[in-house]
């Protein structure tokens, strides 16, 4: 089988990296051209990724990997390299495709921004790091790109740094994900310590955990798996580290679509999928993943019901959907998780870009201030509707098939989690119905002059809408092609009529109730608010998690910070000043020697050698 494109897969991240270099170097003068440089670079990467994927789909090409020795110290060798498997090929296509569409869309969305070329430079760097992460063949390089991706997220969330909220959100995103990163780093060190030959490449990890059970004790395996999962929890916004993701919506909307919906947040899921052998070796870790995933799914979906900011609703929805993916991983069905990641990338990017189109047009993010936009923004409304249907899990849209795969797997392993998943699916449909009907249906607001966005913005919407519709057919209960392609074995593919009926039914029920409440008015909107104001308030305040963290962590840490500041002012600064003083005293002594008098130099040299001779050789003779 041909591996021509796979052999050159390392080029995929190089194109955006080159774009980043060009844009940084001479960005300021480029503006519009700069935007095209970024777009074209991602497009080239996309074509390349597509070729790699086609190559892998058309024949059963063997996995391709290549390493170089990066550093060798004694027996320790650190390699760097890339690996192309079906999993990475899939991720490459998702990242580059969404990246390309977002680039295209941003040309319209960001066209009036002063720092547009900086924006495109950051996006290119992000794309490049994400692709590097996907291609990495070992955990160490993976970790380096993982951190780079985090840095790009920080830069882009805080892109409008003039806004204090954006600055705070960027800081929060960075600090909260750092907690997860620390877990991953410790896991990496543990693996390094315990792995035979200190190997960190995925192939060896696979061999050690999959085939030679017992090489590493179960306790350590569980610990490593949980720490890796902590990293994934941070990046993928899972409970309890989900707090940063909704705040990250302060960044420009295309970024929310690219980073905080379709690609970077999926890195956590990808990490678990990539190191899945470690998780499979520990049932305790698997259960943790499943429970956290299911809990996050329902927890975030319930918050989504009571939010009023269009982007925040979508953000909680992202958290919730990532919870589904984790649930799928936890019930030992990696293909289902990757399948949902695949479909979710398209419909969530679609929804965010649609939301961006709305915001761009009406200049507000509060859905209570919108209404009736459907008539003025036909394309946005239609494509957004398709995204909403896909997210709500209505057949035959893609979200239905992938959610169905997850729910089937959950029913198989943990029926209770299946119930949680179904309830979360109902919530999902309900909040999407609320969102869609409030924004696009109903009476238009007075004084709002909404108009359809330009074609650079609507074309990506249409492309994504098509994908959101059809992407689900790669794996249906009647056609297990995707799962088989991804894992290489048949199995794990049951038709469950019950699940299909239940999942479609709750989706439709959610939409119907939403329609009754927000369009028809049969059910009064304040039906819940009036009966249980406490519950609504709890949801609106997002279960007070932020406040709780404020009291539990931020305040005490600030207290410690204050105490340390005092310590720093008096003790550390004292030492620093002393050091500084002694260094500059030495410096002064030095300048005194440096008098410019050449005879003084010669004398110093003479004294120097006499002292050296007496001190070292002299002691032998006395």
């Amino acid at each position: 089988m041909s591996t021509f494109f796979a052999e050159h897969a390392w080029l995929v991240p190089v194109f955006p990296l080159a774009a980043f270099a060009i844009l940084t170097a001479m960005g300021r003068g480029l503006k519009k051209t700069g935007a095209w440089i970024g777009t074209i670079a991602t497009f080239v990467s996309f074509v390349m990724s597509l070729c790699i994927a086609i190559e892998r789909v058309s024949g059963s090409a063997p996995d391709y990997s290549r390493q170089i020795d990066w550093l060798q110290i004694g027996n320790l060798r650190l390699g760097a390299g890339f690996e192309v498997t079906n999993l990475t090929a899939l991720m490459l296509v998702i990242v580059t495709l969404v990246g390309f569409l977002v680039n295209l869309y941003s040309q319209g969305y960001m066209k009036d921004d002063e720092r547009i070329s900086t924006f495109f430079a950051y996006v290119a760097l992000f794309t490049s790091s994400m692709l590097g992460l996907v291609l990495s063949d070992n955990l160490l390089t993976f970790y380096i790109f993982w951190e780079l991706v985090g840095v790009c997220s920080f830069l882009l969330v805080g892109f409008w740094f003039q806004k204090p909220e954006a600055k705070a959100a960027a800081k929060k995103a960075f600090i909260v994900t750092r907690i997860g990163d620390l877990g991953l780093l410790i896991a990496l060190l543990l693996l390094f310590w315990y792995m035979p030959g200190h190997a960190l490449d995925f192939t060896t990890i696979h061999n050690v955990f999959d085939t030679q059970g017992g090489a590493i004790s179960t306790g350590i395996t569980t610990l490593i798996a949980l720490l890796i999962f902590l990293g994934a929890v941070g990046k993928s916004g899972q409970f309890p580290l989900h707090v940063w993701l909704p705040d990250a919506m302060e960044g420009p909307t295309p970024i929310s679509a690219l980073i905080h919906a379709a690609t970077m947040v999926a890195a956590g899921v990808f990490l678990v999928a990539r190191t899945f052998d470690i998780f499979e070796a520990s049932q305790a870790a698997m259960n943790t993943v499943a429970i956290i995933g299911a809990f996050t799914a329902i927890f975030a979906a319930s918050i989504g019901l009571a939010q009023n900011d269009i982007k925040r609703i979508l953000a909680y929805s992202t958290v919730s959907q990532l919870g589904y993916m984790m649930l799928a991983l936890g019930v030992d069905n990696m293909p289902a998780a990757m399948f949902h990641l695949f479909t979710h990338a398209f419909f969530k990017a679609l929804l965010f870009l649609g939301a961006g189109s709305v915001i761009h047009s009406v200049h507000t993010q509060d859905i209570r201030e919108m209404g009736g936009l459907g008539r003025k923004m036909k394309i946005t409304a239609w494509t957004f509707g398709i995204g909403a249907l896909a997210l709500s899990g209505i057949p035959p849209f893609s979200g239905f098939w992938s959610k169905d795969a997850i729910l089937t797997a959950a029913l198989d392993k943990q029926p209770i989690l299946f119930v949680v998943g179904v309830v979360a699916a109902f919530f999902t449909a309900l909040y999407m119905a609320r969102l869609f009907f409030l924004v696009f249906v109903g009476k238009p607001r007075e004084g709002q002059h909404a108009k359809e966005s330009s074609s650079v913005m609507t074309i990506p919407l249409i492309v994504l809408a098509v994908l959101a519709t059809v992407a689900g057919f790669v794996e249906t209960p009647f056609n297990g092609w995707f799962g088989q392609w991804l894992t290489g074995d048949e199995g794990q593919h049951h038709v469950s009529g019950l699940v299909m009926v239940v999942s479609a039914a709750v989706g439709l029920l959610g939409l119907y109730i939403g329609w009754l409440m927000y369009v028809k008015g049969t059910i009064r909107r304040d039906v819940v608010t009036s009966r249980m104001p406490g519950l609504v308030h709890l949801l609106e305040r997002k279960y007070y998690i932020d406040e709780l963290y404020g009291i539990l962590f931020v305040k005490p840490l600030q207290g410690i910070g204050k105490a340390l500041e005092v310590f720093d002012d008096y003790v550390v600064d004292g030492i620093v000043r002393l050091t500084g003083y002694s260094v500059s005293a030495l410096g002064r002594l030095n300048s005194r020697l440096q008098s410019g008098q050449v005879q003084a130099y010669a004398l110093t040299a003479l004294i120097g050698i006499v002292i050296l001779l007496l001190a070292i050789a002299g002691r032998r003779f006395w």
């Binding site: 110290i73 260094v583 500059s584 020697l593 050449v598 010669a602 040299a605 004294i607």
Partner: protein, 515 residues
Amino acid sequence: MPALQTLTWSDTWYLAPEIVLSIAAILLAVVDLFLPKRINRDVIGWLTLVGLIAAAVFVVLQLLSLGSGAPTDSSPGAYNLLAGSYRIDDFGNLLKLVFLGASAFIVFSSLGTVRDEDVPIKGELYYLILPAVLGAMVMSSSGDLITLFIGLELLSITSYVLVATRKRSRISSEAAFKYVVTGGVASAFILYGMSFLYGVTGGTNLLALLKEITPALENYEALLYISFFLMIAGFAVKLALAPFHAWAADVYQGAPTPVTAFLAVVAKGAAFAMLYRIFMNTAFFTMGTEGTMKKDIFLGLTVLAAAAMIVGTVGALRQRNVKRLLALSGVANAGILLTPLALSLTEFHASLFSEFLYFLIAYAFMNIGAFSVLTIVSRDSGNESLTGFAGLYHRAPWTAAAMTILLCSLAGLPVTGGFFGKLFILFGTVQTHTYWLSAILLVTTVVSYAVYFAFIRQMYMRSGALDSGLRMSAPAAITIWICTLATLALGFLPMPILDWIDQIFSIPTDLLLRG
């Protein structure tokens, strides 16, 4: 002692690089003399470059003909010429390549950058590089004290002239004068030390010395101590090790910047080459009673290395003049470069030469790059103060970026050649359990961040008086970028280079002159 051999025709092949340089130097001196005044002397610079490259090609050919690994009949490890007073081996060839390459970059980067108002005798500036490099090559390729000393003097005397080429500058003349005096003192120290060595052993050939040194040790221990410590002092002055470094700041400041770069890289490297040649073949074998003398000599070198790191780093902290700052940074780096030799060759520490050469290569690239940036920036701002770098990022972002990488390398931050160079040397100190030296290396490295970050602060966070773009000649720009990329390459791919050195270099034939 074998009878003195005369030079044969076949030897000229082995001496080809040296012969090429000699002929080029003489020819260019004549050309410069007869070339009409109105012709730009850059043409001499280009011809100098051709001479350097031609010599380098011959060195590469010899490197290949010597082969790698253990010596065999078809590819002997080394050629001895003139009864062992001249020696073609991998040690010499590798260092010659560094010297020729560094000089070529220095000449190349000054083309179109050195101004006639500053250096009225530009032709001399170019062609005098040739005998200077020739001296450096003799220093790295000799097996006899006298030949080594001749090489040293050839390099030194040419350098004195080179420092003085800014004829209209008082500071340049002063620098040259100081350099003559201190350089003379250093040569005197070395020669005095050598004469004691000759006195107690009766030989100047390093191989012959070796046989005599053990008997001499019994009778003349004190004289040998004096001999070695005098030589240490002399080399310490040449290498600008503290406390023998005071001349460096004055001379570096006064010399034209390309010459400063030459002194910092080639002259320093050549002095190290000579130090390796002499000490690894004499002091290394002074076993004596319980080997105390050998320990003492190498301890002396270690102390000097430590002192240089401390004094250089601390001194650089207070400097605002960039050339003086880089001179003091060079003092600290000389301490680091001395460390592998000072740790000596033991069963735990056999990689001294590869550690040294790797850092020397990294040091050459980062210094030549930094000096090239300095030349351009100081020419533009009209002074050599640190504030000349203010706002460079806003005027020339690429140059600022390149300088940032070079500075990271000087500071020893990853992922650069400077980082790995220091790392390998640090491993050496750990392998030999010289932990106090590791501590000094680490602490001075951290302190040095403050020195180099002062540039970065100026470039990125201060706004300068000028806001027009930076004018620079194409050769200078190319040099800066090659140096920057090489610095990065050394950081990303340290192993191939280190492996290559290890593969070529063999301790018995190349370091210890056996065979």
